[in-house]
Symmetry: C2
Subunit: 134 residues, 2 copies
């Protein structure tokens, strides 16, 4: 029997749910922007079909926007994946500076909604402990 | 003290990690396809700049592809959000047929990787219990 679970069980689940819900909202926002740009692309095509000359500069900007949003989404999904894999392990070596920086990134959206910003000063030397990171 | 946490604590965290990791891989796959299409769009633009006439039919197909992938991503993110919010609640009314269907959708990718498919026959009448769904 591991008495820790009585303390971290319920709160831990709530925490994970909250973080993952926040990540899903972030991804949703990115998808909405990509969708908007794909919609604009279709509008462009309709205009071209009606004989309006193609503005290739605007179309290029549109492709750039989609790609930069994909990069943003990739970063979010990478963090989501790191977070997911950090809880499917039971115990491991954790460097506290790294964990703190990672938590700051994960919490950014929730903090921004309360008009807060975090900044992390990692310890000069790595501090590694063996624990369950979340 | 709630002795259940000793049983579900560690396994529950692993389960959540595994499901969220799987969701993140699904989203990553969708993003990769969108990115590929955005790359093709840029290639088109380069060709147009070099004087190749624009194939508006192909460009329209490309926009369609991006939008259908966005819809796919939206569905995944919606499930992710439902999953996240179902664990940040402690207890609630759960309809077992609904929960089973939802779990089937969530597990599809992991099952497909093992060449398995699930099909759910929900109970004819709703069966509602009060529990912690995950």
């Amino acid at each position: 029997m591991n008495p820790q679970w009585d303390i971290i069980g319920s709160e831990g689940f709530k925490f994970m749910g909250k973080m993952n819900a926040s990540i899903s909202h972030e991804i949703k926002n990115v998808l909405a922007i990509i969708n908007e740009n794909a919609g604009l692309l279709e509008d462009f095509m309709l205009m071209v079909e009606k004989g309006v000359p193609l503005d290739s500069e605007r179309l290029k900007k549109l492709a750039d926007k989609i790609q930069s949003q994909i990069q943003r989404a990739d970063r979010i999904v990478k963090n989501m994946n790191t977070f997911a894999h950090s809880v499917d392990k039971t115990k491991g070596n954790v460097e506290l500076g790294e964990l703190l920086s990672f938590m700051t990134v994960l919490s950014q959206r929730l903090a921004a909604m309360k008009e807060l910003t975090f900044s992390v000063v990692p310890p000069p030397d790595p501090i590694t402990i063996t624990t369950h990171p979340f």
